[in-house]
Amino acid sequence: YAFFNGQPRWIRGSTLTYALSPDYTIEYLTSSEIRNVVRRSFSRWSAVIPLNFTESLDYESSDIRIGFYQGDHGDGEAFDGVLGVLAHAFSPENGRLHLDAAERWAVDFEKEKSKVAVDLESVVTHEIGHVLGLAHSAVKEAVMYPSLSPRGKKVELRMDDVEGVQALYGSNPNFKLDSFLESEKSTNTG
């Protein structure tokens, strides 16, 4: 695992708010499909660190702001169309998380048949890692490894991800390392 220089992290309390942009979104997935994916993604991180994430309807005042953007969208890091760069996010306490609207995002590969479909939950989970202060990992199985294959899925945090985020925020008191290692083992054998 790795951090950004200076190990920036969120220090404004134990609960952060997040919201989806009402204006910059995609049409072919329902709002509830996207919100469910985002909620699950945040819950994976909150399960291992003493930080809660609450959805807010007030986008502008949320700590973490998520949107789907196309091409040059004003932050100096233009998106590049299908595949290539999928998304990016900013280190603490900026809170911006951008997804490339040109991708074919999928929440269920049974329904979405495109060869170049990208799993939304995997990418959102990865970008939340950046929002929390993790940089890219060299461990291929880790959620924080920078690349993701089309139609690939990588949503379960690995030990490398957990070690990194707990080094920044400490451990969630309800986190049980033994049961986590058991589940990781079953993921590996899977």
């Binding site: 790795a2 595949l83 760069v85 890219h136 060299a138 920078p146 690349s147 990588k154 070690e163 080094a167």
Partner: protein, 121 residues
């Protein structure tokens, strides 16, 4: 999941004609000292993700030069690939894989650090 192998990578990406990194497949096994049209695009890719400092002239040549090979080795090390210093199929498949737009390395006043601040126990 494991990074795509080369054939799967190219097959999946062929589905999208305007895939921006599709042409990188052409550079498979391009050797040091060779000049390959379009290699400057791969150098821009490595620059964007923190591996290759931009040249003083602010442009890149199509030559597979020493600096490019060093950037490739840094890329292979950083992402857990076999460190060959070559554009082998594993490396090309990784480069062509869709990815996060964040840099893998932090630029401090344009001097790329070989590691990001990391702590291991």
């Amino acid at each position: 999941t494991t990074p795509l192998d080369f054939t799967t990578a190219t097959a999946a990406f062929d589905a999208s004609n305007n895939y921006v990194w599709r042409n990188f497949a052409r550079f498979l096994d391009a050797g040091k000292g060779s000049e390959v049209t379009g290699m400057s695009e791969l150098k821009k890719y490595l620059n964007r993700f923190g591996y290759l400092p931009v040249s003083p002239e602010n442009n890149f040549s199509d030559f597979v030069d020493d600096q490019f090979v060093s950037a490739l080795i840094l890329y292979q090390k950083r992402l857990g690939l076999s460190v060959t210093g070559k554009l082998d199929s594993e490396t090309i498949a990784s480069i062509m894989s869709p990815r996060c737009g964040m840099s893998d390395l932090i630029k401090i006043n344009d001097a790329t650090t070989s590691t990001i601040h990391s702590t291991r126990r």
